[in-house]
Amino acid sequence: MSRYLLVKLAEVLGAMLTVSFIVFLVLEANVEDVAVKVLGAYSAPDQRQAWLQENGYFDPFVLRYLRWLWNFVTLDWGSSTHYRVPILEILPQRLAATGILAGITLAIMVPVALILGVLAGMREGSAVDRGVSFFSVLTTSIPEFATAVFLSAIFVFWLRLLPGASTMLSGFSVTEMILPVSVLTLYSAGYLARITRASMVEAMRSPYVRTALMKGASTSRIVLRHALRNALIAPVTVVMLQIPWLLSGVIVVEVFFAYKGFGTLLYEAALNTDVYLIEACAMVSVVVVVATQLISDVLYRLLNPRIRFGDEPAGATT
């Protein structure tokens, strides 16, 4: 297990280093550009030169990259040029706000999707199955901003039940949370339900379920004792992989409902070409994605008795 973890960690670190290099390359390869972005379009050329000189921008690229990486690792992330504050003063609280949004979404979405998927997969081809399948195709196909528009049209414009924005200006508000959470839940539940269904169908078709049937086991015993355990391995790992996906949806939803989270921060940073803030946000999101991938992988191995740590997943020989 430890050997496997070490190899995996090395892989993950390698990927993260490469990604950080790409981020740095894309945003800071052209030093003139950086000066314009930091000092503004109306700064004088010699002013920019002086600033570049002062901040070590004429050093070799690799040296600048290593210095930048070191600063990132030591949590010296610089200041936002747009907000005029140190990045570490705004980013954590925005991340926490997004954490709350994503946390509530997962808490609702995961049980709903798993239950729907299991019910559908239990009886392949039944009315429940077809209903769930249609629901998941519908919700996953519609872009999240369209879902947001439709839900707002119904609940804000027409029924006037809910607020159209979630700025949380006067503290945390449950009613303001309802729409963003609903949009994210609808958007992500369909996919998880689909995976769960497929996994459940496969388990219900397996020879060991037939064995249980021939032992005289009841339907509930077959589902709960035999099928479910094997069927949940795939969806549980998928939940972790969905977190990065959710992160993309979060940006759109936060922007739509003006929710002050990590997504809007990244978005505003991008619109204002706030170089250091974009870099920080990009790196944070990469860390989140890589961490969830790692957890998902470890989880898969823990849940599946057929794979011992150190084996390749597809290790079966004939």
């Binding site: 390698g14 990927a15 195709v137 196909s141 901003f145 528009v149 940006i251 070409t273 974009i278 989140v288």
Partner: protein, 286 residues
């Protein structure tokens, strides 16, 4: 694809409904000048409601936007933007993903390790962050969107093609071709690719849907094609400030894009089902 399969496809309601939903917009894209009643860029009468007649006597089926442009005409021309750029972006992503996946799956070894690592690195970005990074740095244009989509979705296609290739390459007919001294390129083209075509067509439909969503999302975030190009996502973005009072400006573009993406999903589902039905060749003897 043989005729029996085609007939089965036309009998499947999923395929027909999905095909119609996509087909309507493809027709709009092809014949936009003849279908759209007005110039999509012309300022006619601002903020007309749907099914209303303007001061100059023009009828507005879906109303007009803030700048007085006819929404229906903009939707019809917007279909062009989507079909063109989503199609192009998906196609280039497929070419790249296909080439990488075939090579990795067939050769394995270090080729596979290098390509898989590259794919994993790109997949460590949340997709949207990647798009934002690319568009912010290189600017918003059709070509940049194509490049960004290719960069971001080729790894996903790569993974599917690689898995399919590994699967098919393990078949004895591929071993037979190797043993006959067939060249690797010809093996990939004649033995592997035709047998991977079914799942890849399904995946292409789904990807086209994702790309449509991506272009829509970028437009919605104001990072899409530069104005005044009619673009569904951009129309939602333009109408958003006034959406509470005039929801028709955002609802119709949302319906258009949802129709397109849902249609593509249904098409993918339908094709998959038809492909799995008993028309399929080569079962196992019990």
């Amino acid at each position: 694809m043989n005729t029996a399969r085609l007939v089965a496809g036309l009998k499947s309601p999923t395929v027909v409904v999905g095909g119609l939903m996509v087909g309507i917009w493809v027709v709009c894209a092809l014949f936009a000048p003849w279908i759209a009643p007005y110039d999509p860029l012309q300022n006619k009468a601002p903020l007309q409601l749907p099914l209303s007649t303007g001061p100059d006597g023009s009828f507005y089926f879906l109303g007009t936007d803030l700048l007085g442009r006819d929404i229906f005409s903009r939707l019809v021309y917007g279909a062009r933007t989507v079909v063109l750029w989503a199609g192009l972006a998906t196609a280039t992503a497929f070419v790249v993903g296909l080439a990488m996946g075939l090579a990795a799956g067939f050769y394995r070894g270090w080729v596979d390790r290098v390509l898989s690592f590259v794919a994993n690195v790109i997949l460590s970005f949340p997709v949207l962050v990647l798009y934002i990074l690319v568009i912010v740095t290189f600017g918003a244009s059709g070509i940049n969107i194509v490049l960004a989509v290719t960069f971001a979705s080729a790894p996903g296609i790569f993974r599917i093609v690689r898995a399919l290739t590994i699967d098919i390459a393990a078949q004895d007919y591929v071993a037979a071709a190797i043993v006959q001294g067939e060249s690797p390129l010809r093996i990939m083209a004649a033995e592997i690719l035709p047998n991977a075509a079914g799942p890849l067509i399904v995946d292409a439909c789904l990807r086209l849907g994702y790309t449509t969503i991506t272009i829509g999302v970028l437009g919605f975030l104001g990072l899409g094609l530069p104005p005044p190009t009619p673009d569904w996502g951009g129309m939602v973005n333009d109408g958003r400030p006034m959406a509470i009072a005039f929801p028709h400006m955002v609802i119709f573009p949302c319906i258009a894009i949802s129709m397109m993406t849902l249609g593509l999903s249904l098409l993918a589902d339908g094709i998959r089902e038809v492909g799995l039905s008993p028309v399929r060749s080569g079962g196992k003897e019990a």
